[in-house]
């Protein structure tokens, strides 16, 4: 299937400045050569811990941040080459849902206005009346009573606010939604409702999701494919089945083993990772994971392993898995 979104060798480096007047003393390589593909209607989950660069990757794709280098091709169009006007038109097709249902809605706007705003901006619908009808339908679709349109965000619970955020993202009938930790701020009992809603909307409208998350149990529910990030690089990519049943990268394995299981009768086998993740300002040489890796070999501190396709569709950047072409890069 041809890709809806194709990200190539994306980099985003942030300068470190020590003082107001001093120059740049270093770079935080938040995203350091990330390539991804998303097919129409597909959910690609981008997972990783804090500092992995997953949120920065999402923001670069949306051009909420300007990448340092790389390409972001949506439906054949290179988004990074677009002038602001053309980019605004493109935003109809690429929408976003943020993590924080409290901070991402304007507290002084009524929710009806919040959801109608994208329709107003892009002049969709023949009249205000028609747009109001669309807002009512959107609110109903995300499980909110349309009569709530005149209320303000603070009158809603976290889960309801996230539904408002979903309705706003949905208003322009996008083909891709970048959802950045959309359920991690929600209570468990409400989280499930929003996950179900996102899956239903995908089935109904054929939307593709870039689903950015740290919770692998949530990801297993919603993702078709999973990309695991560590310190600005992709460590492993594969189908949901492959990543969860046959994880290859030691980091992916450690992540899966670290998830606490709600079953007290199960004795966990767990290789606890030692130490904290290094700073992305000073990633370790060679494989970035080697300082915490339980299976480190001689090449790891010296050579950065390339991302290689080990079995069809399953890619891993690890010296333990030489690609089909023989020895891994060096």
């Amino acid at each position: 299937m041809s890709a809806l979104l194709e990200v190539g060798d994306l980099k985003k480096h942030f300068p470190i400045r020590r003082g107001m007047l001093s120059g740049v003393s270093g770079w935080v390589r938040a995203v350091d050569g990330v390539s991804l593909r998303i097919a129409p209607g597909e959910t690609l989950a981008l997972v990783g811990e804090s500092g992995s660069g997953k949120t920065t990757t999402g923001r670069c794709i949306l051009r909420l941040l300007e990448p340092t280098s790389g390409s972001v091709v949506f439906d054949g169009v290179d988004l990074l080459a677009l002038k602001p006007r053309a980019m605004r038109r493109m935003r109809r097709q690429v929408q976003v849902i943020f993590q924080d249902p409290y901070g991402s809605l304007n507290p002084r706007m009524r929710v009806g206005t919040i959801v109608r705003e994208p329709l107003d901006i892009h002049r969709i619908g023949a009249s205000r009346r028609e747009r109001d009808d669309m807002v009512a339908a959107l609110l109903r679709r995300v499980g909110l009573d349309p009569s709530m349109k005149d209320r303000y965000p603070h009158e809603f619970s976290g889960g309801q606010r996230q539904r408002i955020g979903v309705a706003r993202a949905l208003a322009l009938k996008p083909r891709l939604i970048v959802a950045d930790e959309p359920v991690s701020a929600l209570d468990v009992s409400v989280q499930a409702q929003v996950i179900n809603l996102l899956m239903d909307l995908q089935d109904e409208f054929g939307i593709a999701y870039l689903f950015i998350a740290h919770d692998l149990a949530v990801v297993e529910r919603i993702a078709d494919r999973v990309a695991v990030m560590y310190l600005g690089r992709i460590a492993e990519v594969g189908t949901r089945e492959e990543i969860f049943r046959n994880p290859l990268h030691p980091y992916t394995r450690a992540l899966l083993q670290a998830i606490p299981i709600p079953d007290p009768t199960r004795a966990r086998e767990r290789a606890v990772l030692r130490g904290d993740p290094p700073s992305p300002a000073q990633p370790p040489p060679g494989c970035r994971f080697h300082t915490r890796c339980p299976s480190v070999i001689e090449a790891c501190p010296r050579v950065e392993p390339p991302l290689l396709e080990v079995t069809p569709g399953h890619w891993v950047a690890c010296h333990l898995y030489p690609g089909p072409g023989g020895a891994s890069g060096g």
Binding site: E49, D187, S189, H214, E220, R221, P262
Partner: protein
């Protein structure tokens, strides 16, 4: 096993414009010596205020309006504040969620760990600072001697959480109250901290009250579990029976709605599936529904649930507050 802590009919209220918020509403539970009690609930259910109540640190304008907090035979509620201070930190230590705000930015972490020992008059400063380094080693901080002289901002989140645990352990408390100790941490760090808490608890013979919204964390750590909803304990049982056969519809719903790694590890298909969600939203404590606070979301709601509030009554080896199991007169059904 002897009880180390017994809380009976504890209520903590907060005045608000919308009326009295019953953040903790006639809560009773106990912790046995050497055991871990897990207190689980969602945001705003009153679990953190319960933790603070135990050491009488409910933030004003909230206050404890009733209840008994018996620690090793002494009712802490009857103590003058001066004597209460001898319990706080020394007998009962607290660990909070946010490792970045619980530390003072202008003192070295070594000093902050030693401070409790100095304040409680257990050690002189020099000795206490040496003890701080030993405590940092205990919580697996490498190169502790050097790191003791660092300031909190020089440390990562995981390191700071370890420092907070070292601080809590400094005066060798008997009871550790840990409120979401791993929530701000990444999952790999969470695993390491939980692992460490288990070892420390065993080696130092601590009793632990672990508060979390994460059922996985509770399952891996707790011997017994109390489930809170809207300021009340709705179910209490041993960890195994609670997870195997929850009695309260809220506990059952919570367990069902939680996504868990399934397909990958059990081979049961797993994967893309709708989750059985609990309908509705967590209620606002200032505007609680009548009767049982869970009734608007409950799949098993009955007429009496809308009118009467079920009390927490014994059932098997645990207790449950639900009219499915007892009638409004308190008789088993």
């Amino acid at each position: 096993m002897p009880r180390i802590l017994e809380v009976t009919d504890l209520s903590a209220h907060f005045p608000s414009e919308a009326g009295v918020v019953r953040a903790v509403d006639r809560v009773s539970f106990h912790v046995d010596e050497g055991e871990t009690l897990g207190l689980v609930g969602e945001s705003g259910c009153g679990k953190s205020i319960t933790a603070l109540s135990i050491v009488r640190l409910v933030p004003p304008p909230g206050r404890i309006v009733s209840g008994r907090i018996v620690y090793k035979g002494t009712d802490l509620m009857t103590l003058p504040e001066r004597r209460m201070r001898r319990y706080r930190g020394r007998e009962i230590a607290l660990i909070f969620q946010e490792p970045s705000t619980a530390l003072n930015p202008v003192f070295t972490v070594g000093y902050q760990i030693a401070e409790g020992l100095i304040v409680h008059g257990i050690m002189k400063k020099k000795e206490a600072l040496r003890e701080a380094v030993r405590l940092m080693e205990l919580v697996r901080i490498a190169d502790a001697g050097r790191r003791a002289r660092e300031y909190p901002h020089q440390m990562s989140g995981g390191m700071r959480q370890r420092v907070l645990i070292a601080m809590a352990l400094a005066c060798r408390p008997s009871l550790l109250v840990a409120d979401e100790p791993t929530t701000a941490l990444d999952v790999t760090l969470q695993a390491e901290i939980l692992d460490m808490l288990r070892v420390l608890k065993r080696d130092l013979r601590l009793s632990l009250l672990l508060i979390s919204h994460n059922l996985g964390v509770i399952a891996e750590t707790a011997d017994r579990v109390a489930v809170m909803y809207a300021g009340r304990i709705v179910e209490e049982a041993g960890a195994r029976p609670l997870f195997a056969s929850p009695k309260h519809p809220y506990t059952a719903g919570l367990l069902r709605s939680m996504p868990r790694l399934g397909g990958a590890e059990t081979g049961s298909g797993g994967g893309r599936r709708r989750l059985p969600a609990i309908e509705g939203n967590v209620p606002d404590l200032a505007r609680l529904p009548s009767g049982c606070a869970f009734h608007p979301r409950c799949p098993d709601v009955m007429a009496e649930c809308r009118v009467h509030t079920p009390g927490l009554l014994p059932l098997g080896d645990g207790a449950v507050a639900c009219f499915k199991h007892h009638d409004p007169g308190g008789r088993p059904r």
